[in-house]
């Protein structure tokens, strides 16, 4: 169907106001670009970017899009690492950026936030009430709260220590793909038992509706105790994680690691002496200071049973800041020097070492590129293996970038299938639809398609993400 930009712009302006509709191509290109390392394709550059202020305007846009059969792609901040943010069909980009109000009700035990507020800003607002937001993405400066709940990502956090952010959602306001506005859930801190539709929308990746208000329980900010442990090899850390789960030891909320190469890079970057091998760093949380100290002591005793070169509770906040920042600096070094092609493997925990070693072998023997390096760091306690192919140049043609991305995805997903995992951080579309089809019975994917068709008969919202991409 041919769409005339000028007419579309006028029609959308009637819903949201002239100043909140953009039909110029430069703005459309900027919104279409995401973190995928290749350029925006001409055929998906949106006709328009529209920036509604509330659910009524979102509803108006979706009703209009259904009448005109124009796809609508939801935009938070475009930080997805698996291509969720890039439109797959030419249409309208719906930017949630103007919906960013927050209301905090300590007397009710919850807060309400609109989807476009950036995670770091939500955290800042909650800190005044000594409350914690259970969302920990590396992109928190700009990632939106709506996007994190739409993916239900625990990001850097260890699920077994706290849960997914969706576990704390009490209710939602959702605009269905056909434009109806619904409220779900409760205003009590006691979540509904039984078939609560709130759960259908948490983690639905924008396929089933647009989240326009999130009601989330206030979580008291915990006390943290930091620990660092040095090991001869990465395998020693993997073994420690496996033992932690096997012995039913309560895990830290953060359990990060740097493999031998990442540790060397990260420590050098922050001015610390080069470690002998791999490094694990943890943050133990508890709701009392004494509790956190006791848990840290207990966890240190457990760590010592795994034969670290050294393990200790870090008491000086300045020292801890330096140690902790080495992890981010290891990433920065790679991202600046060349290109990284990542993976997200979350194996059954008793298979952690097997999965890690196979991931390493796969990455060192890529068909699409020769001469890359292997490096790994991240949330190993989750357990998540972020195994990276590191290429020491940025001068790679778009098609080769795609080829490496596809090979990394296909082969790392085979490990998720083989070892019983399915991720836990990046979401299950758009690039990962092939994984869904490999891992589960065909009926599971058909169920998702039927669910989508039921709520979105014209396939308006985030078209292409459930069909699979690249």
């Amino acid at each position: 169907m041919e769409v005339k930009r000028a007419k579309l712009g006028k029609d959308l302006a009637k819903i949201v106001g002239t100043e909140h509709v953009f039909t110029d191509k430069p703005t459309s290109v900027v919104y279409a670009k995401d973190t995928m390392p290749w350029d925006v394709e001409e055929e998906i550059v949106p006709h328009a970017v529209v920036r509604p202020a509330n659910s009524k305007e979102v509803s108006g846009i979706l009703r209009y899009a259904n009448r005109k059969l124009i796809p609508v792609h939801i935009h938070g901040s475009g930080t997805s690492l698996v291509g969720l943010s890039r439109p797959k069909a030419k249409g309208i980009v719906l930017d949630t950026g103007r919906m960013k109000a927050i209301r905090i009700y300590p007397e009710r035990g919850y807060f309400e936030v609109e989807p476009g507020m950036h995670v770091a800003e939500v955290k800042k607002a909650l800190a005044k009430y000594k409350a914690m937001l259970p969302v920990f993405p590396g992109s928190e400066l700009v990632a939106t709260i709506g996007g994190t709940i739409a993916v239900n990502t625990s990001a850097h956090g260890v699920d077994a220590a706290l849960g997914k952010p969706g576990d704390f959602i009490l209710g939602l306001e959702v605009v269905l793909p056909t434009g109806e506005v619904i409220q779900t859930g409760t205003e009590s801190t006691r979540r509904p038992a039984g078939i609560d539709p709130t759960k259908f929308f948490i983690g639905s990746e924008g396929l089933l509706g647009v989240l326009t208000l999130l009601r989330m329980r206030l979580i008291p900010a915990p006390y943290f105790q930091p620990l660092v442990a040095y090991y001869k090899t990465t395998e020693d850390i993997l073994q420690t994680v496996m033992e932690m789960y096997k012995r039913a030891i309560f895990p830290p909320l953060f359990f990060e690691f740097l493999d031998e190469k990442a540790a060397k890079i990260g420590y050098e970057a922050v001015g610390l002496p080069e470690p002998m091998g791999a490094v694990a760093m943890m943050r133990i949380h508890s709701w009392s200071k004494a509790g956190s100290e006791e848990q840290a002591r207990n966890f240190l005793e457990f760590l010592k049973t795994g034969n670290p070169v050294e393990a200790r509770i870090v008491t000086d906040p300045g020292d801890w800041d330096t140690i902790w920042s080495s992890r981010a600096e290891a990433g920065n070094y790679m991202y600046r020097l060349g290109m990284t092609f990542g993976s997200e493997i979350s194996p059954r925990v008793d298979k952690l070492i097997d999965a890690f070693q196979e991931a390493k072998s796969i990455i060192l023997n890529l068909d699409s590129y020769k001469g890359n390096e292997f490096i790994s760091f991240g949330h190993i306690g989750a357990p998540t293996i972020h195994a990276y192919a590191f290429v020491r140049t940025k001068e790679i043609p778009n098609e080769l970038k795609k080829a490496i991305t596809i090979e990394m995805r296909e082969k790392s997903e085979e490990l998720n299938v083989k070892y019983g995992g399915c991720g836990g951080e990046w979401g299950l579309t758009a690039q990962r639809v092939s994984f869904l089809k490999k891992k589960y019975e065909p009926e599971l994917y058909e169920l998702l398609v039927k669910l989508k068709q039921t709520l979105d008969p014209n396939d308006i919202l985030n078209r292409g993400n459930l069909q699979g991409w690249i």
Binding site: T27, Y31, D34, A120, V142
Partner: protein, 115 residues
């Protein structure tokens, strides 16, 4: 600016902007982005992308491009964010170079700019 310098400037811009990972960490630091309630083409990230797609031929020079690039206040706050959390690009300097090419009529966009 002679043609060699112009080509060097274009090369520098494409190589440097090619390093941008579109992380968008810089956007909140931009006063213009804040003033527009978060329009990404009015943010450092957006300006870099616009220069890139202008130089590689996908975009044509037009008023929105001029508006976006010339709305940059050259305050340099994006540079600091990119240095600590991004690709260590001198974002404001790249935007300044892009404006220079535009203001001297050295870039037109469209197919003639394809590289």
């Amino acid at each position: 600016m002679d043609i060699e310098d112009q080509e060097a400037t274009r090369g520098t811009l494409l190589a440097e902007i090619g390093k941008c990972r579109a992380c968008r960490f810089c956007v909140d630091a931009c006063a213009v982005y804040q003033a527009t309630e978060g329009v990404e083409s009015m943010a450092p990230y957006g300006r870099l992308q616009i220069i890139k797609y202008l130089l590689n031929g996908m975009l044509d020079e037009d008023d929105p491009i001029v508006y976006s690039l010339y709305s940059c206040l050259q305050c340099g706050r994006c540079d600091r964010i990119c240095k600590s959390k991004g690709q260590n690009l001198e974002v404001s300097g790249l935007i300044r170079l892009g404006k220079y090419l535009l203001s001297h009529g050295l870039v037109k966009g469209g197919r003639s700019e394809e590289v």
